[in-house]
Assembly symmetry: C2
Homo-oligomer: 223 residues x 2
């Protein structure tokens, strides 16, 4: 591995999307390796070689500094610890402010994403049918976004982003969640503070470059 | 609030259990306030006063340093940032080692716990019945523990704890997950490395003091 940075990603994975934003934000160049999450039983994330890198058979996995890192929160915290400074930091310096950013991150990371995860949703469909599956996903997204809207609106300082004028890890996690929410039929316009922030984030080059549609494994229009 | 530290907790909540361990480990005295998660529609975590503190109507919530903190990962990271040093730190100093600890934490925090969460399990029962519910919980716990066993066994250095001779945040998260796993019918003996570590953790006073059975709102034996 050595000096090269390799990201194992899937275009539509919200967890990989988080890490892509953080890498772009910090100006870290990386090689993109697509892992096809729909490749079947012994391929994609279930292939032996990938499973050895990541025993939970999930994306993202990041090879950096000669190490194999997994879990988007752990990767993002690592990138923050190793690439800090003016214009690239994703956490405030004050411990209380950092705790509030991590609270928002967790409302998405442990509060919503695990319940909209493809393998979880697939299991709900097997157990209860396709109609129940669609409702399941929307219910948990709505529940989580409502709590997040309340928490962010309270601490929001009128600035363009979740915690004021500086982009934080909360924004890095919000953008992919907004993408997933729309994909699963929950409109962000129901959450006015979050929606306004997402519109602002779309204008940032690092966020735009990390968008699913711009990844090498995204379906080509008309293909 | 001022100088007093108040933990809103429920005896059997694994997320509250994590924060209780971290508080005991760091020697932080706190007042225990029980939130009854089975109190009904407008009581317990759904009471207006509690909902104002924690809009996602979950435990734990920690009032400390004049602030209201929520989400166990965010709280534990805050306690680490504000209470570090020999014998009380819960993260190694090396950034790569910290990323590996956080990876283990996340395999539990976002990989297992959200799927065994009481309100999620209740929804599965409503959609698919009590039998499906029991299988659901066991399946996700097994899936997550198998990945965790592989990851921890690889980095395990033969020491008593997940990452060697020092207790880390991974241990703080493992112990409550082991408790929940047994409660939902998954034996830790299927995961030999994790099981050995849990046995060692039981011997530590901070971990013992945080055990659900020792909390003021736990049912009294024979009651």
């Amino acid at each position: 591995m050595g000096d090269s940075v390799i990201l194992y990603s899937y275009w539509r994975s919200s967890c990989a999307y988080r890490v892509r934003i953080a890498l772009h934000w910090k100006g870290i160049e990386y090689e993109y390796r697509a892992v096809d999450l729909n490749a079947g039983a012994d391929a994609g994330q279930f292939a032996g070689e990938y499973r050895a890198l990541n025993p939970s058979t999930e994306v993202p996995t990041l090879c950096i500094d000669g190490q194999v890192l997994a879990q988007s929160v752990a990767i993002c915290e690592y990138l923050e610890e190793t690439h800090r400074g003016r214009g690239v930091s994703l956490f405030p310096t004050d411990a209380v402010a950092r705790a509030q950013v991590r609270r928002a991150v967790e409302l998405i990371n442990s509060g919503i994403q695990p319940l909209q995860n493809a393998r979880v949703v697939k299991r709900v469909r097997e157990l209860a049918g396709a109609g129940a599956q669609a409702e399941w996903t929307k219910e948990w997204i709505r529940f989580g976004l409502q709590a997040l809207e309340t928490v962010v609106a309270r601490s929001w300082q009128g600035g363009p982003y979740c915690f004021g004028t500086e982009v934080t890890m909360a924004d890095v996690f919000l953008m992919p969640q907004a993408y997933s929410s729309e994909r699963f039929g929950v409109s962000m316009t129901d959450y006015p503070t979050l929606n306004r922030i997402v519109q602002n984030l779309h204008k940032l080059p690092a966020f735009a470059a990390a968008h699913p549609d711009r990844q090498p494994d995204a379906p080509r229009p008309g293909a």
